[in-house]
């Protein structure tokens, strides 16, 4: 195998230096494994050991050493094993199996560095044959590889050198994205982009480069660097490692990244979180992170930093997805096996994104392997899903196809509950992605995606909603320094309600939104310290706000179609990632958004100084096809800065400013599949937000800590009058109230990424307020004062933990606590028109009881025979172990003149599930 052609190169003088200061150690151990012994040496001395745990015998030892050199101890320990060791100049001890590393090189291999004067040798990638003792082993073990780049020159010593290259998968030849390349000791790191490219700044001399990513073998290499250079990595896939690192948190990303409030979730991360009904879900994980919360259990939509649920831009391969959930939010609408990762931006949103106020959820799907046929299958109690990767052209093109479906209808039918027997609930989704590497400079990706949900709650109505998405992406390397991406995306969301029950009032009604976007994004490496991203995008919206038609000839429903709405949203954006110096890095982004509402349209004009009601219409104006009848827009600043206080501590600050031209019409707290979207027009203004964040980030050993604060102001947020009639309303502005929003909070995240026990703790204290004020009492809520928004939940705590019992068994647990959300409660009764009614308090004056829930899960991996056809694992989980009856909402009904307080909840008992997964 190619990777076994190991290169070992070390400079002799450094090695000798190390030996001069041989230190003595005294150790007394009883009943301890070699691993534990080695870590004791690490604690006692400066030595650090590098080895693979599985090489070492786990039997307990009793040993005693008095004032022995480490070398002696190790010789003794490994005398009857296959383990060799090598001590580097900087007290690293590298253990190898079978192979031994020699510090000495054949004579004359190098000219003495001291003698080199002005000779210019650039980007030299020296390699030499292995100097190995013993027979080469074809097994998966790796020995430490040393790579030398450039030569040391006295005259041209630079402190910072750039190493770049591509990381590819050995077996498939595909690029590996989001792979962290780090120098642990110095806390420097880089992450590969979608093309597998990375660039890292290294100090000259010896660096130990480590790579880590989910599903890819970890590797470690010595790199002796004296000049800028290139280094490509070929890495194997590694299934065994999957559950060892739960969240692919890049060791230094926390500290070094310029922006605030960003998180990446790899699809694999979701594997170890207890599941509801056996489904992996990256969106669920997102809600365990500080600053992101759901409106309720099993509800679609997220509230990010005090923002409404319609303020999140959810992208799948660059295209917008309007309803990312199935079954009202109980399942994500993505095939978990088809997802590569999810990046969440809740603080500083990159300038390339726009159109939503609060966050960006950027989801990318997996590239298919172009060398090997692969697949993944999961079978659960309610859903099953499968993904296959088909190589179409060797090392060039691959096709990924995924399908997923729910078969819950049989559960509904088999229940005794009579009113549920007639119910129906099913969904499916389908995804396919084609990736083609045309040549070294051109790459093409195409994604098609479709989801559909069909359900009926009562026997007379059938609901049906679907997402459709198409995305095309062409990446082209334009020159050494610049590259570009051209994207064409189309998304559609629609729903339909079929009502068939009454004698003559049956109907069909529907809603549909379509958008098509063309976006060009370019990247230019201006200088070492400036990376410029810029581009342009244009998006055309078409909304069919609603139509209703009689079902049969007897039905007297008058067909009505609220006229189509159209608009163009475009943007220019530029951002500069500017490295001022080693410590200070800036990300200066500017976006100019421009929105034009297009005809044909008829816009009402309301009397000035009067509330917006049907009675106060002064007239209306009609516009022709494609006539621009209203424009909005403005500059959006996306600025962030990072200052490194030391290698593992940084502070960051950002300012973010966003516009949103499209709004959901929903008087629910949560996202409902029958929510419609409305484009800004003459009478509905765009929403706007400004956000400041400040954070401090610290890495301590395997712990990652971050503390971020934010303050956000919003304008023209959309709310509705009490009991508003939203659907099929041609003049929605008579029901809409636009007001101000104010939110602030502090978010704490502690993550442990390695070790038997890993996971994270997220805690948020935040507040969110709305203000709906007007000169007219009817358009005022709570006397025009700020009041807590529907999702103002001051305390929000999530704890996610995994404990790996053995290589095959692991436990996971997940605990969530949230302050109950604000509600409006009755404060008395009154009599009106001969009936008794409830008098409600001011809006959101009270709260429902606090929410908490504990879920546990247990994963059993199949065995790890190398030649086994498929790798399998079982997941057993129990959702809501405590059986907590968390009220989802509390409401009051007056029945026969009596007031009754009711609460609705979703899962009131523990829900067990078991899922079988395998991949090949």
């Amino acid at each position: 195998m190619r990777s076994i052609t190991t290169i070992v190169l070390l400079l002799c003088f450094t090695f000798l230096m190390g030996q001069e200061e041989e230190r003595k150690v005294s150790l007394e151990i009883q009943n301890k494994s070699i691993t534990e012994l080695l870590s004791e040496i690490e604690q006692e001395t400066d030595f650090q050991f590098y080895y693979a745990e599985q090489w070492l015998d786990t039997t307990a030892l009793d040993k005693s050493y008095k004032n022995e050199s480490v070398e002696t101890i190790l010789t003794d320990l490994f005398q009857n094993t296959q383990i060799n060791f090598f001590i580097t100049w900087d007290d690293r001890v590298i253990l190898t199996r079978n192979n031994s590393i020699y510090g000495n090189l054949p004579e004359g291999f190098f000219t003495k560095p001291e003698q080199v004067e002005t000779e210019e040798i650039l980007q030299e990638n020296v390699s030499a044959g292995p100097i190995l003792l013993g027979k080469q082993n074809d097994g998966p073990d790796k020995v430490l590889e040393t790579i030398r780049i450039g030569r040391e020159r006295k005259t041209n010593r630079r402190d910072q050198l750039t190493l770049s290259g591509y990381v590819t998968n050995t077996s498939t030849g595909e690029p590996i994205a989001n792979l962290a390349i780090v120098v642990r000791k110095l806390n420097i790191g880089a992450v590969t982009d979608n093309t597998g490219f990375y660039e890292i700044k290294l100090p000259s001399g010896l660096n130990v480069l480590e790579t880590s990513s989910m599903g890819v073998e970890s590797s470690r290499r010595n790199v002796i660097i004296y000049d800028n250079g290139k280094l490509d990595f070929n890495l194997e896939e590694n299934f065994e490692q999957l559950d060892e690192v739960v969240v692919a948190a890049d060791a230094t990303r926390n500290v070094e990244d310029t922006s605030t409030g960003n998180t990446r979730i790899g699809s694999e991360a979701s594997k170890n979180i207890p599941l509801v009904l056996g489904e992996r879900d990256v969106l669920k994980i997102a809600t365990t992170l500080p600053g992101v919360s759901t409106a309720g259990e099993g509800s679609a939509g997220f509230n990010v930093r005090g923002g409404k649920t319609d303020q999140n831009l959810i992208l799948l391969d660059n295209a917008v997805i309007y309803n990312p959930t199935h079954f009202f939010g109980f399942f994500q609408a993505f095939n978990p096996f088809a997802i590569n990762d999810l990046n969440i931006y809740k603080g500083s949103i990159p300038a390339e994104f726009g159109g939503r106020l609060s966050s960006v959820f950027d989801i990318s799907s997996k590239d298919a392997s172009n060398t090997k046929f692969k697949g993944e299958v999961s079978v659960g109690p309610v859903t099953s899903n499968a993904v296959v990767e088909i190589p179409l052209a060797q090392e060039k093109a691959g096709l990924m196809v995924g399908a997923r479906g729910a078969y819950s209808d049989w559960i509904l039918r088999s229940l005794d509950e009579e009113n549920l027997n007639n119910s129906q609930a099913s969904f499916y989704d389908f995804i396919t992605k084609y990736n083609h590497k045309i040549n070294d400079n051109n790459e093409l990706r195409a994604t098609a995606y479709y989801t559909r949900d069909i359900f009926s709650i009562t026997s007379d109505s059938l609901f049906d909603y679907s997402n459709r998405l198409l995305s095309l992406q062409w990446n082209r390397k334009l020159s050494e320094k610049s590259s570009g991406t051209l994207m064409l995306n189309n998304s559609q969301y629609k729903f339909n309600i079929d009502f068939d029950g009454s004698t003559n009032r049956n109907f069909e009604q529907g809603f549909q939104i379509d958008e098509t976007e063309l976006k060009l994004q370019l990247k230019y490496l201006l200088k070492e310290s400036h990376t410029i991203d810029y581009g342009i995008s244009g998006k055309l919206y078409s909304v069919l706000p609603g139509e209703i038609a009689p079902k049969g000839s007897n039905d007297i429903i008058q067909p009505l179609a609220v006229p189509e709405e159209r608009a163009l949203e475009s943007a220019l954006f530029v951002s500069d990632n500017y490295k001022v110096n080693e410590k200070l890095q800036l990300d200066l982004g500017l976006r100019y958004s421009f929105y034009a509402a297009l005809g044909p349209s008829t816009q009402r004009i309301y009397r000035e100084g009067a509330p917006r009601t049907d009675a106060n219409v002064a007239g209306s104006e009609t516009f022709d096809n494609n006539e621009i009848f209203e424009t909005y827009g403005g500059p959006e600043a996306r600025i962030s800065a990072r200052y490194l206080l030391n290698d593992s501590l940084s502070i960051k600050a950002s300012f973010n400013n966003t516009y949103q031209f499209i709004h959901t019409l929903s008087n629910n707290t949560t996202v409902s599949p029958v929510d419609t979207w409305k484009l800004s027009d003459r009478n509905i203004e765009p929403q706007q937000a400004n956000q400041f964040s400040l954070g401090i980030y610290k890495n301590i050993k395997e712990y990652e800590l971050s503390l971020e604060g934010f303050y956000k102001r919003q304008n023209n947020i959309i709310d509705f009058k009490t009991g508003a009639q939203l659907f099929l309303n041609e003049n929605i502005e008579t029901e809409v109230l636009q007001g101000k929003g104010k939110a602030y909070g502090v978010e704490l995240l502690i993550r442990k990424n390695r070790g038997k026990l890993n996971g994270w703790l997220g805690y948020t204290y935040s507040r969110s307020f709305f203000q709906l004020d007007s000169e007219f009492p009817q358009e005022r809520v709570n006397d025009g004062e700020f009041f807590p928004s529907n999702f103002d939940k001051p305390h929000d705590l999530s704890l996610v933990l995994n404990y790996k019992l053995t290589r095959r068994f692991s436990f996971s647990g997940n605990f969530v606590y949230q302050t109950g959300r604000p509600v409006t409660f009755p404060v008395g009764n009154y009599e009106f028109n001969g009936n008794e009614f409830v008098l409600y308090s001011e809006r959101n004056q009270f709260r429902i009881p606090d929410f908490y829930r504990l879920d546990i899960g247990f994963n059993i991996e199949g065995n790890h025979k190398i030649k086994k056809f498929a790798h399998s694992f079982w997941t057993i989980s129990v959702y809501n172990v405590l059986g907590r009856n968390n009220p989802y909402s509390v409401f009051f009904v007056s029945q026969d003149g009596e007031i009754e307080a009711l609460q609705s909840s979703i899962f009131t008992i523990p829900i067990p599930s078991i899922t079988y997964n395998f991949r090949f």
Partner: protein, 398 residues
């Protein structure tokens, strides 16, 4: 502060079934928390119509959950102005009930407004409001044997109305139903307790002094019934279902009459009623929930902007119609609906009988020494005045 805890019966089985069943239906059960707080506000119930009569305005206060009903807002000055200098003064005839003096009817083109000054000197005014249409008519009010959307069989009461001028659009319906009740276990006699002797209580059978066999029960709508014709091709409602009575409802047993009132409302009043209806109804699923809140009407405090006033001042056009039908008309030869409760006569004597009489919820069915003496039956079975009035209503037609 005031606290009340509302407890109701549990439905655990249903909840488990639903949870297993995935969510959609969620699970609705009584709220176990505590609801606190009470707000004392003025409630104005003012409806002026185009009918020439002493128009009525009711002023009350909001009341706590554990109170039976509202307190009247007494001794207020209530006037309605018509925007053209006309003023109608309302006199308090009963506590909280103010009637116009003299009678008047709302007229087209006039902008009416209400002003109130309460006993403690606070002043309130309403928005101005106009009569939406000069008149409205129920073209047809009829009853049919039918099935409702849930498939239950029974009697439907339907309305047809049509406004060719397309002026009406917003309709609200009220009804008042009256039905004949015949007590199934009525007997001509009653039993009364005379004296307690050492041997036990002594009773006497007497002749009943009043009509207790045939009565007339009355009821009215419990929900707000509003409908608009905006989405229809014409300003027409045909076969609009105002009321549905399940065929097993005892009120259908003999003869039934319903008076339906049709109001044509202003858009503002319609919105108010619709919102009020939305707030007082149970949501049809977990996912469609109305945002509750204080529902402001069109009456405001002159002195204090922040004061909440419940209720509405409405000017509407009205028409009403009444129909009668008998069970035999639609269910000839079929079995009568079951009575409101099961009726049996059970024997009682001595101290037991005295106890029953003291509780006052039973009457004598018959005195039959062969069956052990006094056969007692629940009041509703033997005395129809427990359910209605024994006076034949003035409008009643057999």
């Amino acid at each position: 502060m005031y606290a009340t805890t509302i407890h109701k019966k549990q439905f655990p089985v249903q909840c488990i079934g639903m949870a297993l069943l995935l969510w959609i239906f969620g699970c609705t059960e009584p709220f176990e928390g505590t609801v606190e707080g009470f707000e004392d506000v003025l409630v104005v119930d003012a409806l002026i119509t185009n009918e020439n009569k002493r128009q009525e305005i009711r002023l009350t206060r909001s009341f706590r959950f554990d109170e039976d009903g509202p307190q009247a807002e007494e001794n207020a000055n209530v006037t309605v102005e018509d925007g053209e200098g006309g003023q109608f003064v309302f006199d308090e005839e009963e506590p909280g009930i103010y009637l116009s003096n003299p009678p008047f009817s709302a007229e087209m083109g006039k902008a009416y407004s209400l002003s109130i000054t309460t006993e403690d000197g606070r002043s309130y005014r309403s928005d101005t409001i106009q009569l939406p249409t000069a008149s409205t008519t129920i073209d047809e009010l009829y009853a049919e044997r039918t099935a409702n959307d849930q498939g239950e069989e029974g009697m439907g009461i339907f309305v047809d109305t049509f406004d060719p001028s397309r002026q009406s659009n917003y309709y609200r319906y009220e009804y008042e139903e009256t039905f004949k009740i015949i007590a199934p276990l009525w007997g001509p006699n009653d039993v009364v307790f005379i004296i307690q002797l050492s041997t036990g209580p002594v009773f006497e059978v007497i002749l009943r002094e009043r009509e207790e066999r045939t009565c007339y029960g009355t009821d009215r709508e419990k929900t707000i019934e509003v409908v608009n014709t905006l989405n229809l091709s014409e300003d027409r409602l045909s076969r609009y279902p105002v009321r549905f009575i399940n065929r097993n409802n005892y009120i259908l047993s003999h003869r039934y009459s319903i008076l339906v009132r049709q109001y044509v409302q202003t858009p503002e009043a319609f919105d108010y009623y619709e919102a009020l209806k939305g707030l007082s109804q149970s949501p049809n699923s977990v996912f469609t929930e109305d945002q509750p809140g204080f529902l402001p009407g069109n009456i405001f405090s002159v002195d204090n902007e922040d004061e909440n006033i419940a209720g509405f001042f409405e000017v509407a056009a009205i028409d009403e119609k009444r129909i009668f039908f008998s069970y035999e008309d639609f269910f000839p030869g079929e079995e009568l609906p079951p009575y409101i409760q099961e009726c049996i006569g059970s024997p009682a004597f001595g101290e037991d009988l005295k106890g029953i009489l003291d509780r006052g919820n039973s009457v004598l069915y018959k005195f039959d020494p062969s069956q052990g003496g006094y056969l007692m039956t629940p009041s509703a079975c033997g005395d129809c005045t427990a359910l209605g009035s024994n006076k034949v209503p003035d409008f009643w037609i057999e």
